[in-house]
Subunit: 360 residues, 4 copies
C-alpha cells in the first residue's frame, strides 16, 4: 500500500492536532514518528495509547529523527524560531516539508530558506497557510476569482479575534511571535493577497491597545490591534487582531467588489443549535481555531500528501508566506513607531532613517 | 373632508394601543371618544394626560357614545362576546366599523352580522386581521401571488406562540375566547387562506396539551396545540399555537411551493442588537405581538381611514373572518373530540352524529 | 496494529460513502471487502483506484464475502428488503453488524431479527440512525436531557425535506421504501423518542400530497406529508416530510420545553459564505444529507468500531429502530386511510377492523 | 390643543421625509410651513395633496417664512453650506432649531453658531444626529453604558455603506459635502463618542479609493474610504465609508469591551422575509437609510417637540456635532495628505507645517 511516511516535529497544542489529523483523516499518510525536546510533551507522548496502537516512534532529537529509515516527509510545528533551521535540515536530508507559518519572523532568514529550496526541485516544500484549505474560503475564492460574483474586488476586511486565554498558555507562547500583526494578521493578509490577486502594497498604518494581558508590555506587544493596508491601484485591506474576545474565536473576512460583497463567517457558530430562553435566542461560538478549521487541516494534510505521491506542485509555496510577512512586518513597524510604512510601486519597503523608527 | 372622527370602544391592553396608533400614526384620524364600562379602565382614562391634550371624550355607555355629534367611525376592541352586538348597533347608527377578530365565536351569529352589513352599503365594515397589514407578510404575498417566486404554493406552516404570561392577565382573558385554535390560530388560518388563494378545507385534526396554565382545564382549554388542515386539491396547512414560550413572541409562517419556500420571521428578533459574551451570541425576542406588529396596526388604521375618506373597499371584508372561523372551529372540535373534522368539496362541514362528538 | 476488518455491502450512493468514511475517517477500521450484485456498481468498483490502493476485495455474492478470512464486521447498506436476511446471515457467521435503517418495513420481520440477535450476545449489532452521531443533535441532547436547559420537554417539530431530485434516481429508489413516513420521517421520529425520553404514542394522523413525482402514484405514495403524533402524558410531535424542496436539504428539529426551546439547523447553510449583491444577501444550502451529515457518519463508524474493539454496548441498539417504525407505520396508515391511528397506554397499536382501513 | 408650530426648510429628499414624519408620526407637532428656493421643489410642493389637506404654507424665501405668525420652531434640512446662517437667523427670530448634521464643514463657523446659541438660553437648539434615536443603537447604549454588558468598552468598528446611486442624485449632492469622512463617517464617529464616553482622539489615518464615481475626482473625493482613530487611553475606532454597495444600505456598528461585544445590524435585513429557491436562501436589504431609520426620525421629531413643550434639554446638543467634526476633518486630512493626523491630550489638533499638508 502506497502511503507517505511522515513525521511531526513539535507536540504542542497544534503538533498534537496535526498528528491526529494525519492518523484520522489522511489515509495516504502514515505517521511513523513524532519529535519534541519538551519534557512534558515527551512524557505525554510516551503515555499516548493511540501512538502506541499506530506504532509511532518518539524522538527527542530532531536530527536523529531525520535519520529514521523510510521517512519521506516532515511536518514542522515547532516554535517559529526554529522553523527555518528545521526546514533546511529536512531538505538537506531529502525530506519533503510542510512548515507552519511563518517560516521566520526575520524576512532575510526566510528568504534564505526559500532560496535554498530551489536547490531541491524534487522536494515538496509547502507553507502551512491553513485557511487556504477551508471549504468556505475556497468557495469564496471560486465566487470572487472564477465566477466574478462581486465584479472587481477592491476591498478586504478581515479579522482574527481569539478567545481570551486565561490559562497562561498564550502568554508563554506569545513572547517569541514577532508582535500581534506578525502572529495574528498573517492569515488575514494571506487571504487578502489571494482575493486581491497579489496586490502590491503602497502604505500601511496600525495601532494597538493592551487590555487584558499586561505581561505583553515587556515585549512591547499589544492584545488588540487594527491596521490598514493601502495597495497600489486603489485597493484597500483593513484588519483587526484580538487576543481578548469574550465569546470565542471570531474570525471573519469580507471582500467587496464593484458588484457585490462576499462574507465568510460573519456570524460565527459552534454548531447548528440555538437555545431560546428567557434571555432571548443564543448560539455558541467556537472556542478556538481548531473547531473552526479542523476540516481545513485535514484538507491541507491530504493535499500535501497528494502533492508528494503524485508529484504535483504544492498548493501553497513558500514564496506566498514571504509576501505576507512583508506586509505584516510593515504593519508591526507602524504600530511600534506611530508612522506610516510605505512601499514603492514594486512593493519594496521604503525605509525611514534609523533614528525615526528606532524600535528595539 | 379633513379627518375621520373615530371612537375606540374597549380600553383593554389592545384598545389603549389602538388609541395610541390613531393619535400617533394616523394623521387623517381624529380620535374624539373612547368608551369602556370597566371601572379600572375608566379610572385610567380619566387620568390620561394625552387624552386630555387631544380632547378625547370618555364614555362608560356605548350607546351614548354612538350619539356623539360628528362621530363617523367606531373601532371595536372589546371582548369577543359583544363584538357582534356592538357592530350591529354602530351600523344602525350609520357609523363605519372596524371590529377586532373574531366577529363572534358563534358562526351563525357572525353570519347574521355579515348579512346585516349588506343593508348598509354606504358603510365601511372591516375585519381586524392585522397581519394582512404587516410589511413582511405583504412582501411575502407579492412574492408568492404576484411574482410567482415559489411556483405554485401548496403548503403552509404557521405558528402563533406567545410568551408565557405570568401576570394572570391571560387567564382572565382566556375564559371566553372559544378555545386555543379559535383564539390563537385565527391569524395563521387567515394567512393560509391568503397565500393558498382561498383553498377549500377537506379535513383537519389537532391535539393539545396543558403545560403551564392549569386554570384552563376548567374551560377544557389547553395552552399548546398542533393541528393540520388538508385542503381539496392537494394543499396542506399545519399550525402550532402556544401560550407558554419562554423566550418571547415567536410567530412565523412558511409557505412552500413547487419552486421555493418563503419564510416570514423564522428567527424573531427584538431589534438589530446582538450581544456576544461568554454564553455565545444572543439576541432578544419581542415579548409580545405589539413589538412585532405595531407598524401593521398603524397601516391598518390608515387604510381603514383611507377607505372611509375616499370611499374605497375595505382591505379585509367581514366575510374573510367567517371562512377563517369555519376552519378554526373544526380544528377546535377535532382537539375536543379526538376525531377528524371533515368538509365536503364546497367547504361545508360534514357533521358527525351528536353522540360521536358530544363535547359540551 | 489493532483494526477491525470490515466489509460494506451495497455500493449505491450511500454504500460508496460508507466506504469513503471508513477509509478516510476511521483509522481503527480496515475495509477489506465490498459487495454488490448490481452490474453497474460492480463495474464502478472494479475501476476504483482507491479500492485498489487499499486492497479492497470486491464480491458479487454476499455469502461468499462472509467467508473471507479475518472479516469481523459488516456494514449493510443495501436496499431495505434484504436488510433482515443479510443481518441474520452475518450474525450466523459471527460477524458484527451495522445495518442501515430501517431493519425492515415489516414490523414482525424486524422483530424476528431483534429476537435472533439475542442469541449472539458476543456480537455488536447496531441500527444505523446517523443523526444520533451529529454534533448538533448531540449538543441538543446534552442541553435538553442533562442540563435541563429547556425545562421539561413536551413538544417536537421535526422536518426532513429533501432537494427535488430531477435525475430519476429517487423514483427508482422510492418504490420499495414503505411510504413517505416510513422512509423519510424515521429520523425525525427517532430524534423525538430521544428528546422526549421514549414517550409512548397515543394517537396520530397525517396527510400527504403529490406535487412533483407523479410516478409515485402507482405505489400510493406522496412527495410531501405532514403528520402529528400525540403521546400519552401530554407530549406532542409533528413532522413534515418532503421530496420536493427547491433550495436544498432542509432538515431541522425544534424541541420545546416548559422553560425554553432548542432549535437544530433552523436555517440550513452550505458553509459560512454569504453573497451580497443586487438580489440581497444569499447563502447556499446543502444539496443533500451527505453535506449535512458526513461528519456524523464518521462518528458513527468510529463508535461502531470502538464498540467492537473495546466490547462496549453499541450506541444505537436494534430495538430503537423498532419503536420508531411502530410510529412511522401508524402515520403511514393514517395517511393511507384518512383515519386516526391509536395506541393503548402500553404503546400497542389499537387496530381498526379490516374493512375500515382496507388499504392494499 | 397644545402643539408646536413648526416649519421645515429644504424640500430635498430628506426635507420631504421630515415633513412626512412630522405629519404622520409626531402628534404634538403641527407643520405650518415649508420653504425651498429650488424651482422643482416648489413645483412639487404646490401640487402636494397632503400639504393642502393639512394647510401647510409654502415659502420660497426663508426670511419671510420666519415672519409667519405663531411659528415656534424650524427644522433645517437644506444643504450644509447654509446650515449655519439659517440657524443663526432662526435663533435671532426666537425660533427653536433642529439643524441637520453637520452644522458646517468649517469648524470655526460651526463654533461661532454654538457660541451664538448661548445667547438664547430659552431656545432649544439641537443637532440632528438621527442614529441616537434608533431603538437598536439605544438598546446598545443601555447595554454598554448602563448594564455593563461588555465590561469596559475599548474598540468600535462602524461602517456607513450606501447603495450605489445610479441616478446621478448623489453626484449632484456630493460636490459640497466636505469629503467622504465628513459626509459619511459623521454618524459612525458620533456613535463612537457615545459608546466610548467622549474619548479624546490621539491620532488618525485613512485611505480611500475611487471605484464607481469618476466625477468625484474633480472635488478630490473618493467613493470608498477606511480610517482608524486612536484615542488617548488605549481606545480605538475604525470606520468604513462606501458609496458603492451593490446590495443596499449596509450600516453596522460593533463595540468591543473587556467582557463582550455588542453588534448593531451586522446583517442588514429589509424585513422578515426569506426566499429559499434554487440559488439558496436570500433576504433583501434596505435600499437606503430611510428604510433603516424612519422610526428613528420619528423619535427624533417627537423628542425635539417634547423638549420644546416641556422645556427639557435637547437630546443632542450642538456641541456634540463639533466634537464629531473635529475627528471627521482629521480623517479627511489624513486621506488627502497621506500623513497621520495627531491630537494632544486635550484633544486639540497638532497641526503640521503648511508645506507638509498643502492640500488645496
Amino acid at each position: 500500500m502506497d502511503r507517505v511516511q511522515i513525521a511531526v516535529v513539535g507536540l504542542g497544542r497544534m503538533g498534537k492536532r496535526h498528528v491526529h489529523t494525519l492518523i484520522h483523516r489522511t489515509p495516504r499518510a502514515h505517521v511513523v514518528a513524532v519529535c519534541t525536546n519538551q519534557p512534558h510533551e515527551i512524557e505525554w507522548a510516551q503515555q499516548n495509547e493511540e501512538y502506541k496502537t499506530f506504532g509511532i516512534k518518539l524522538y527527542d532529537d530532531y536530527d536523529k529523527m531525520l535519520e529514521q529509515p523510510g521517512l519521506q516527509a516532515v511536518w514542522i510545528s515547532t516554535s517559529t524560531d526554529v522553523h527555518s533551521s528545521q526546514t533546511l535540515a529536512a531538505m538537506a536530508k531529502g525530506k519533503h516539508v510542510l512548515c507552519e507559518k511563518p517560516l521566520s519572523t526575520d524576512l532575510e532568514e526566510a528568504q534564505s530558506v526559500i532560496d535554498a529550496a530551489k536547490g531541491y526541485p524534487g522536494l515538496k516544500v509547502m507553507a502551512g497557510f491553513s485557511r487556504r484549505f477551508d471549504a468556505s474560503y475556497r468557495d469564496a475564492a471560486v465566487k470572487i476569482l472564477q465566477e466574478g460574483a462581486i465584479g472587481s474586488p477592491f476591498m478586504v476586511r478581515s479579522q482574527t479575534c481569539d478567545l481570551l486565554d486565561t490559562t497562561g498558555f498564550f502568554i508563554k507562547y506569545a513572547t517569541r511571535n514577532g508582535g500581534i500583526f506578525v502572529d495574528c494578521a498573517i492569515h488575514d493578509i494571506d487571504l487578502t493577497l489571494w482575493y486581491l490577486s497579489d496586490a502590491v502594497p503602497k502604505a500601511c498604518w496600525g495601532v494597538g491597545t493592551l487590555q487584558q494581558h499586561p505581561e505583553l508590555k515587556a515585549s512591547n506587544d499589544v492584545d488588540n490591534a487594527v491596521g490598514i493596508v493601502e495597495f497600489w491601484g486603489g485597493k484597500i485591506a483593513y484588519f483587526h487582531c484580538s487576543r481578548t474576545q469574550a465569546h470565542g474565536h471570531d474570525v471573519s473576512t469580507e471582500v467587496t467588489g464593484t458588484d457585490g460583497k462576499i462574507s465568510v463567517n460573519l456570524v460565527p457558530r459552534m454548531n447548528n443549535v440555538v437555545l431560546a430562553d428567557k434571555r432571548g435566542m443564543t448560539h455558541e461560538v467556537q472556542p478556538e481555531y481548531w473547531q473552526r478549521f479542523e476540516m481545513a487541516f485535514a484538507t491541507e494534510a491530504n493535499e500535501f500528501v497528494d502533492a508528494i505521491l503524485h508529484n504535483k506542485p504544492v498548493p501553497v509555496p513558500m514564496e506566498t508566506g514571504q509576501k505576507v510577512m512583508l506586509i505584516a512586518r510593515a504593519l508591526q513597524d507602524a504600530l511600534w513607531t506611530g508612522e506610516v510604512s510605505r512601499f514603492d510601486e514594486a512593493g519594496k519597503r521604503i525605509e525611514k532613517a534609523a533614528t525615526e523608527n528606532g524600535h528595539a
